[in-house]
Amino acid sequence: MNLSGARRGRTLMGGLAIVMTAVLLTLLARRHPTPPKPGEVPAYRQQGPRTARVTIVVYSDFECPYCRLGAQALGGLAHQYPDKLHIVFRHKPLMNVHPYARMAAQAAECAGVQGKFWEFHDALFSHQDDWTRPADAFPQMINLAKQTGLDIPELNDCFKNPATSALIEADLNNANANQINATPTFLVDDQRCVGSNQLLTMGVAEIKKRLGS
């Protein structure tokens, strides 16, 4: 074998070794996706008939501006496909970047206990700029609760109840099990969509496929 042939052979071998290492590392690092686990979600966090042909599970954070856009997009779809979507809300507060997200999630749970989860959900998103300011996050949230018609002493009791916190933990565990690292993430049946753009493109395509339209 001449010199250039030997070098070409070694170059090819080196390239092959790099590609094989990349494939092997990717296979080892990739957490094997499992079908999303539905888990138990309180009835007040569900919308639409449970027998609907399409279920959308949304993992959201009340302090995240992209989740506000996601909620608007999801609300539009619920309006567009009345009675055909079963929507399930799951908490995924990103506590490392959003200091009030967990508090908002717990308050929303307590609103749910009083039968006003979705009203408070909408209020939190539409007034997001007000209650996410450091100086007056909690008072602003209480104001919102009053405006939504919630019983404040009852809300306070519920807020301190460890069972409320446990519901948020259960959602965080579920998100972890389903490899939900980003918010908002929508599981349109098996189709994962991150952000409102993907919901309105890939998600809508999946809904149309499921509904046969």
């Binding site: 070694r10 790099i18 996706p33």
Partner: protein, 153 residues
Amino acid sequence: MKNHWKPWAGLAARLVVGGILTATGLQKLSAPLQEFAALLDAYQITPPGVNHWLAGVFAGTELILGLSLLAGYLTPVSAGAALGLLATYITALLSTVLRHLPLTDCGCYGDWIHLTPGQSITVDGILAALAVLAFRQGSRRFSLDNWIKETPR
């Protein structure tokens, strides 16, 4: 003894850039690709329809270039390509700053954005400078390139 340190600096630069690109590429490939695609959506440069595909291409390219640099394989080509990739990221980040897009360390898209665009530009700029050093001096120590060039016995 003149410039004796240069090959070692080249090796260090090659290992730093290669190590970081390998780690970031692997991180992107190990998570659902929709998450990196959502970050590309937020940049508003490419159409949402192609971002899922682009996410895979960018992540795969990062990993291959990172491993090539770590091994010192075709170092000038790998370092040049890494420089191109970093220049692409810097340009994209600068465009978000100029267009006032809300990417400021929201973290809303998960683990991908923990630096502000300004911090990311700085980090990418340092990596780009190291890629230039790797391009010029990176293949002289502990590299596959040396083995490829070796005269067979």
